[in-house]
Symmetry: C2
Subunit: 435 residues, 2 copies
């Protein structure tokens, strides 16, 4: 076997077999295959794709490059959620304790924010004391005890994927549907949950701007999961505007507490309840989605989800008082500013990615993996698509403890909006449920 032939085969649209992929990825990880051959291969995959079996093999080789969490001694049904990322997507903060409050076991390994998207870990770390670095044993012990934990990915999960991702990141081969599918699924398979719900975002703040690409990605990941005997489902959801009203870290925790107290923005409630309903259905206890959703909705209202959130925070070293008086516990921003409408009209479109970048510029996110985050920084989104706006009316509030001059971020925010005379319909939140 030689690397040239494998690159050539893929370039010509051929299918690589298990041994060929093992040779390629193994050689790449061990350094016997140089990066310049792997990057040429990855670009060929970008253009020529992979078929289902090939993709499943590719994914499994990456899973097997590291640790595979064994959750078999945990009673109950383990279920996880993965979102492809967006702006204001703090769903995991609510969904994980909600699902646990419904009797499911939620072993969640999350990531940090990068670029225009936020990360669940950064959000949780705005709660003083919250630890994301549990060992595998601590993680499993906590799951047994309270049924939910949200931690950072342990180092040894799919190391081949990490290395390949670094190379893709500098060679314009990240946004390839099969490569994204394999990357996500290699981590999720290694993390060991038996069921997985995908939230694939589409729109101006998503990696997949086109809905058809989002569907393609979702179906590709579902295939890989089912090939590996996981229960799989997916939601295609809108990211043409920020989800909820909070974009940042502490402010998204505060919003999560509101929702688990029975209030909060309706879009965020809706998607969380849909995802929880699907999780319940996947667990086999419900036939109809509406019935499952009703049960989930109830646990947001009756305080069960919030209690579970408090249990998780406490178990991971954080201050559970955040559930009662978040304003006292979370760091307040030192500076704030209002973004005002320059004209009368309707908010007709949002370049959501730019809103994520405005939040990043306030300190809420990261340009590089090594950057620090200002947990108090963020944006309060007061107007969404199809809302009426008056000249001078406040469209959003900006917060930061790092950036005093908020003019650039305010301009960026305004720049992301289209205000028109004719109103438009609000984008539909749940585009498709793939079960």
């Amino acid at each position: 076997m030689n690397t040239y032939d494998l690159i050539f085969k893929k370039r010509e649209g051929g299918k690589l077999f298990l041994e060929e992929l093992e040779y390629l990825i193994g050689g790449f990880v061990s350094g016997t295959i140089p990066q310049y051959q792997m990057s040429a291969f990855l670009m060929a995959v970008y253009f020529k794709g992979m078929d289902t079996e090939e993709l499943s093999d590719f994914t499994n080789i990456m899973v097997n490059s590291g640790e595979r969490l064994d959750l078999s001694d945990i009673e109950g049904i383990t279920v996880d959620k993965h979102s492809t990322g967006g702006v204001g997507d703090g769903v995991s903060l609510i969904l994980a304790p909600l699902a646990a409050s419904l009797g499911l076991v939620v072993p969640m390994m999350s990531g940090r924010g990068l670029g225009h998207t936020g990360g669940t870990l950064d959000k949780l770390e705005s709660i003083p004391g919250y630890r994301i670095d549990l060992s595998s044993q601590q993680f499993k012990d906590q799951l047994k005890e309270i049924g939910v934990a949200i931690i950072g990915q342990t180092k040894n999960i799919a190391p081949a994927d990490k290395e390949m991702y670094s190379l893709r990141d500098v060679t314009a081969t990240v946004d390839s549907i099969p490569l994204i599918a394999a990357s996500v699924m290699s981590k999720k398979l290694a993390e060991g949950a038996s069921s997985l719900v995908l939230d694939v975002k589409t729109g101006s703040g998503a990696f997949m701007r086109e809905e058809k690409d989002a569907c393609k990605l979702a179906r590709s990941m579902i295939k890989i999961g089912r090939h590996n005997e996981r229960n799989m489902a997916a939601v295609i959801s809108d990211m043409n505007q920020p989800l909820g009203v909070a974009v940042g870290n502490a402010c998204e925790i505060k919003q999560a507490v509101e929702i688990m107290s029975g209030g909060g923005p309706p879009d965020m409630r809706e998607i969380t309840v849909v995802l929880a309903g699907i999780m319940l259905k996947l667990s086999g206890n419900f036939n109809g989605l509406n019935e499952a959703k009703a049960v989930a909705e109830e646990n947001l209202k009756n305080g069960s989800a919030l209690k579970k959130f408090g249990d998780m925070i406490e178990a991971q070293g954080g201050d559970r008082q955040v559930c009662e008086t978040p304003g006292n516990i979370l760091k307040s921003p030192d500076y704030s500013a209002a973004v005002k409408s320059p004209e009368d009209g309707y908010l007709t479109a949002i370049d959501t990615r730019k809103i994520g970048l405005a939040a990043l510029s306030l300190g809420a996110g990261r340009e590089r993996v090594s950057d620090d985050v200002d947990h108090s920084a963020g944006i309060n989104v007061l107007k969404k698509i199809s809302d009426r706006v008056e000249k001078g009316e406040v469209l959003a509030e900006l917060y930061s403890s790092k950036v005093k001059d908020m003019k650039p971020a305010a301009d960026m925010y305004l720049n992301s909006l289209e205000i028109g005379r004719e109103n438009v319909e609000s984008p539909k939140l749940i585009r498709e449920v793939i079960e």
Copy 2:
């Protein structure tokens, strides 16, 4: 400017501007842009191509990465030929002295054989004493004196192309029409001839198996040349069988002497005369190709071309006696064997590449650039497409001084042939002349 964006732009089918290409190639050569980014870029070019202006810029940057031969002080019209390579393609050996005997100046820098194709330099080096490593000054002095020189490429011709070719060679990005065009033309432009005739081969022994790809490549190279004010023309010629009857080094010299003595195989004569005719037309002295061909044909018969060949050999340190008694001067092979037909029928097809590989296995060629060549090794091709063959009749003779057991090479040769009951037409040698 950053490399990622340039890879991305090309991946999306965009056109890179001069400064962008300068940044990319300059960074690659100086080492500030890593090979893994260049290989991803090259694979993107494989899939997305380059437009004429882009390709011309790309080529010129490679020309400017090294020395540019200045032939402006040489009187007369300088004209060169480039062949994309094949099996038995010893045309340059005859064409260069023939064109010089017709009053043109032929500054030819040639290459060595690699893989299934032979190289003009290896063939010339089978003449004892022949030196291919003249300095630029010696090269020009010889051109002034006798009008022809065939030497190796001086080291500093298009070094960026050399480096990029090495990377393409291991990343399955060699057979890209724009990249081939840029690579060939960067060397030819740097070598300074004012006119250039291309012989683009097509068929089973050519890099461009399909005629339409050969035409595309020819047109692409012509465009680059004309963009740089060179007189350009091209011939698309057949490589579905070896050219002439000799495949190897010393044996091709012997065949060249035969042709310049008025004999030799008709296909080799024909293509040489066509190319010489086109060269004469490009020089502006002839209007019709037939008239120009007749003049060229005459110089093969009357000994003028052979005399020029002898002058060139002598000037470059070789023994010009090879023109009179080649059998006494060239090394004879120690071993030989006959390949016999296993059945009666007609020779209907040849996998010409395999014949090149059979010659390589006898020692006539190189697997790696660093390999040595057995100048006495080669093949005498006795039957060509549409020839009648009888069972037991000799199809070819194999020669070597390195390989005693010729069974494997004989099997390879036989394996390359198709013998059928129904005869076929001989493939047309000159497919197209692009002027």
